[in-house]
Symmetry: C2
Subunit: 374 residues, 2 copies
Amino acid sequence: MNVPNHFELLATDGAARTGRLTTPHGAVRTPAFLPVGTAGAMKGMHWRAVRDAGADIVLGNTYHLMLRPGAERIADLGGLQAFTGWRGPMLTDSGGFQVMSLSELRKVSERAVIFRSHIDGAKVELSPERSIEVQRLLGSDIAMQMDECVRLPAEPADIERAMQLSLRWAERSKRAFENAASGTMLFGIVQGGDVPDLRHLSARGLVEIGFHGYAIGGLAVGEPQAVMLAMIEETAPLLPRDRPRYLMGVGRPIDLLEAISRGVDLFDCVMPTRHARNAHLFTRFGVLNIRNAIHQKDTNPIEPGCGCYTCRHFSRSYLRHLDKCNEILGAHLNTVHNLYFYQRLMAEIRDAIDAGYFEAYAKEFYAFKDGGPA
Amino acid sequence: MNVPNHFELLATDGAARTGRLTTPHGAVRTPAFLPVGTAGAMKGMHWRAVRDAGADIVLGNTYHLMLRPGAERIADLGGLQAFTGWRGPMLTDSGGFQVMSLSELRKVSERAVIFRSHIDGAKVELSPERSIEVQRLLGSDIAMQMDECVRLPAEPADIERAMQLSLRWAERSKRAFENAASGTMLFGIVQGGDVPDLRHLSARGLVEIGFHGYAIGGLAVGEPQAVMLAMIEETAPLLPRDRPRYLMGVGRPIDLLEAISRGVDLFDCVMPTRHARNAHLFTRFGVLNIRNAIHQKDTNPIEPGCGCYTCRHFSRSYLRHLDKCNEILGAHLNTVHNLYFYQRLMAEIRDAIDAGYFEAYAKEFYAFKDGGPA
């Protein structure tokens, strides 16, 4: 377990924690929410605006980038930061999850996944070693091991098979990571579906191998929130206290609150950006659908008191108009707000943990209409 | 002809002129190019970025805005500037041109045009009086008379009929404009197709009625550039020297140069924004198609030396990638460049006129590849 630590735990409040993760492209304040820049771009956004919203770090999708424009191409162009113009830290996933959800004709073997690109049908092989290589070529600050994620509900036998395969892939990922030039971090991913024993086995196995940080994967894939939270409770205590914990692909604001209260530090999700393009806007008072006719004459901002650029300059009536007209500006302004909402939430939570009133903050959050934004 | 003048002629160089047009929302440096914000938004752009590109004034389309969200709605919300967040001067067209090009089942009579909305099929009547009313409701700084524009080539008899109708509508527009509360400017529109005598009749008739400014309409509707320039030569000298002249719906950079050399002060066109969304980028060295495979590995900006945000921060390889992935950011960054290109061109032309080297500037412009950007 001779793995250097780039994470500093700063404060705790119950199981909730704040910390600082140091990467070659800057520091990340945790708990942190990573907006998802799928294909080397944050959909509907300007990188400037991502930074302005308060994001320290973003996620890039290995699957998309390896297919287009290609990992070697990006490496030739100086890596993701130079290529995209996002100068901050970047985490890349392993590509495995998108292979499962987007590609066709995939075949999983011990050695690798073989699949056809959803873009041009080309046959591609992705192994744990190639995934690490691709993430290095991209110049990722935090690389993820390749794993197999099983959609829930699933048979325990299937969950176990995928979990054990992921564990073997974790070892191969670490070896590949160590054999290449250093510089980034590598996170292992706990699998095990909704089976506590499998979660324990997976977590212990990964800690044995040793990683810079640990993700909890295979959640938010169809199970109820209660199951997700129970699995976090089964997993988080088994992970090293001094390493960052990352809940992948989550989620709604209430999911973030609940997971943070169980000791999670990092999150990513397309929800704020995708919802924005579909006119679903997050506010302290619940979700607002800007497409609704009720906003036609409304000169209020999306969320009174919100400090985002959109709320400081534009009315609901105008945003509704832009949405009705399919104007790009509407997608952009909505995304500015939703990303700001998420980042403000994280900042408020960090403050609450640092000052020891996280529980009270969470209670107040829930007191709002509909149990808070969902 | 008791019409107040808001235009100040500052310098001339041959027939080319610089000036200043003062509106309630600020001054406009001429020659000026108006980016087109069709439906209360600049496609692919942020208003901030429109201003940053150097635009003093933009155009809003009456036809689109009267159908959605509606002129009365916008008036209730405080007018176009308050509604959209564009705080500078705004010129609105009369709506007539889009009725002709976009709507269905239109019927032109002496009194008005009756048409069906291209959005929901609703039957709408647009008269010269209603057009003025709508433009006042929008809070336009410069309103245009309603006219009938004939696509070329056309029979002289048809051109004359439309020109005479436009002249009668010009009178009604002016009366309607004067009967309402004041504050904005009203421009008449010279019609007459490609028939010099009809252009003369139209121009003299409008000057007789008296307007704050004069547009040359019915050009860039299918005729060769030589015909367009000839018609400008027939028209411009008949218009009052101390009033602004506006060539509607034009055009390519070389069209702007040629028209300015013939005494035109104002232009509008969707070309920079629409071309940007179609990956056609203007440069000093000609048009660059960013979709082209040649740009795959090119780390240069669109136009070396260009000061726009896109050229200062992003490579051709990244912009090509964004275009291939249909990322909104690509449409945005391309539009930032094209609008900047047009505004920089206007600024350079104004400097050249002020300092008396406009002809030399134009010659140098043409010296570049392909006869300059087209």
